[in-house]
Amino acid sequence: MYLDNAATTLYKPDAVGEAMKEAVNSHLYGNPGRGSYDFTLNSARFILQTRKLIRDFFHADETYEVVFNSSATMGLNTLLKGLLNAGDHVIATSWDHNAILRPLYQLEKRGVTTSFINSDPQTGTLCVHELEQKIQPETKVLVCSHASNVTGNVLDLTLIKEFCQKHQLLLIVDVAQTAGQFEIDLSDCSVDAICFTGHKSLYGPTGIGGICLKKELPVDPLLSGGDGIHSFDKEQFPQMPTLLEAGTLNIPGIMGLAKGIDYLNQKGVATIQKHMANLTNLLYSQLHSNPNFMIYGDFSQPHVGTFSFNYKNVDSSQISDYLWENHQIATRSGYHCAPKMHEALGTATQGTVRLSFSTYNTIEEIEQLLDILTSL
């Protein structure tokens, strides 16, 4: 049983692998933007279609562009390091993954200052009332995770967007944990950029991700190099998406990702969200009143298919190892690259056991898991 889908979805629609095989074996897909023969144009046209597919998926209008890269981590590094300079201040949150935290720590060494919004120690809910306390004249960016990868709670962006508009901040949202299982709507144009990864709940392969961002966002590119055009220019071509796509794109990855998104469009994100809620709510309803279990997160609030718990005061890795060794159930123990969240929840020593679901998990699997957990 595979319950570590927040790390990566192990099961993908068959069409994902088939599209990637087609990309390599058909001998039809050349290097996009390098030549004007059919092979290169096949790739270039497919990429163009997929940019639109993704923009539509996030309800983004034509003021946005989709840039491809390798991961949400790459996207977050690109934006944070490309927008923030010495003297700037950035607000982040205790929900954030090291994909946000570590670039910020690097930037601190270059003269950028940071503030973090805390979380409630009981529920892990983000203390958004702290926002006004953190604002400074130098604040330029607010970066946040759309959902905690520990508790699975989803951040209500309404208040965050209003705050950013009021203080004219750029808003960057990490949607690695929500894209594909929670509706993301950029139609009001109040989010400047989202960073997504392909291999989690978008059901694409590893090694492909991207940014959906406002075309006019003044990002200094993290990478520079060949773009197939303007070969004599010393600087990267200053227009999206070319500005942030130095080097050859991952064509098999993009083709696989497109099929993952087709799958989501067929199933419907609202249906998937409901399926995830059914799985997590079943676990919560059966475990929250059991004194042997500590459950993390606020189940009265919107949630993705992620569920963290501890059993008595047992090290979380022992529970994960037990589940794998005795029942071949794959779960994730430890800190999930989210140190601030674990500090807030008081789990910085024990970690948590994290269960995370995909569309391929069933109620029957959760019932089987509950039988095992309640027999510990």
């Binding site: 996009p32 933007g33 390098r34 030549g35 004007s36 144009l41 270039a44 046209r45 990429i47 163009l48 773009d227 197939g228 055009i229 303007h230 070969s231 004599f232 071509f237 227009q239 999206m240 998406p241 070319t242």
Partner: protein
């Protein structure tokens, strides 16, 4: 050689977007590599028949397509002449 028109773009992305839209408009266009004579780039341009030029220009205006420059091309063999429109 039949003279033809050539539309240059600021980026390959703009060229690909324009190709997509012009094809949806059923114009007889084709993406080609931008001649190095016209731009020190390795980008794409769109070649079109001059007979369709008025309707292509209207389409470009109507769809707000981003265009860099437009040329008329004539000549023989590899000896082509480019006239900016």
């Amino acid at each position: 050689m039949t003279p033809f028109g050539l539309i240059l773009f600021h980026s390959t992305h703009d060229a690909m977007s324009a190709e997509d839209q012009l094809q949806q408009g059923h114009f007889h266009i084709r993406l080609i590599s931008t001649p190095q004579t016209l731009a020190k780039s390795c980008g794409f341009s769109i070649k079109y028949p001059l007979t369709e030029e008025p309707s292509i220009f209207s389409f470009i205006r109507e769809k707000h397509l981003e265009v860099d420059k437009i040329f008329h091309v004539d000549g023989e063999g590899f000896q082509l002449r480019y006239h900016e429109v």
